[in-house]
Symmetry: C2
Subunit: 163 residues, 2 copies
């Protein structure tokens, strides 16, 4: 079985899969509200598709055991999906590029910090929410609209992710 | 000077101004991810307008002194604006209904808990971000698009908000 050690989440490493939503010197940023507030502007490509709209939800996830066995992946071909942690805890992100059907060799695993969100580009394969340590809430930005927007596949052979 | 004691933020009390974004038994909710995750679905009316799009940013606000003197208000006529706290701290929300130009008598003040976001409906008057206690980050969902989308007014006489 393939064993993967999750690496720290960075914008550069995650770029093939989407955006990292975080306070960063790399962001467009400027002061507003009379100098009280710094705005880190437009941090992700939210893509609801031409016939969809962006909606906001909260996902409350049970923590996963570590090491965690990855047996399946999913994706949303019609829209992006973003997760921002609200509980001040790290979480795992397991992805594969949108092209083709992934197997264990195609997976990448990231450890996201408590101040880091991710936005999966449309069609990017990802594992469902992987909270750690305790029950954790995430703000989720995804798509509402017509037509089915979730594909799931079982991996031919599983992978095991370590921190 | 009008003195206002902030009241706890609730969906019912905030309804004239927009949405409260929170885990709530009143939300549409269902289990996903094989029973791992509960989805509290579509919690706010994100309204970017016909020629706008929803964008996601992070606002980092300095804490405000309490009591806080309200001397001005602003609004975004073309789109909604949502704030979700990321720092696990309460914050203040000061609003007035979209109709007319507010004075101190028209203001309502709410104390939002660390798990509560707000979404101002288009045109609803509100005070800029009112973080409390420490520097605090908020995820912000608002509008990008053509045409000016911020109006500010100075109140004829200020108001003072207490916790």
């Amino acid at each position: 079985m393939r064993e993967i050690v999750a690496v720290p989440l960075t914008r550069e490493a995650f770029a093939p899969f989407g955006d990292v939503i975080e306070v960063s010197a790399a962001a467009t940023r400027y002061m507003i509200n009379g100098g009280n507030t710094e705005r880190f502007h437009d941090l992700a490509s939210l893509a609801p598709g031409p016939d969809g709209r962006v909606i906001v939800s909260i996902f409350r996830g049970q923590p996963r055991p570590i090491p965690f066995e990855i047996t399946m992946m999913e994706r949303h071909p019609l829209g992006s999906q973003a997760f921002m942690p609200l509980s001040g805890r790290p979480y795992l992100v397991v992805v594969a590029q949108a092209t083709g059907t992934p197997d264990a060799a195609d997976l990448a695993a990231f450890l996201a910090g408590p101040g880091q969100g991710v936005n999966y580009a449309p069609g990017v394969w990802h594992h469902p929410l992987l909270a750690l340590e305790e029950i954790s809430d995430f703000l989720v930005l995804d798509r509402a609209g017509p037509n089915p927007n979730c594909e799931e596949i079982d991996l031919a052979s599983p992978a095991r992710v370590f921190l």
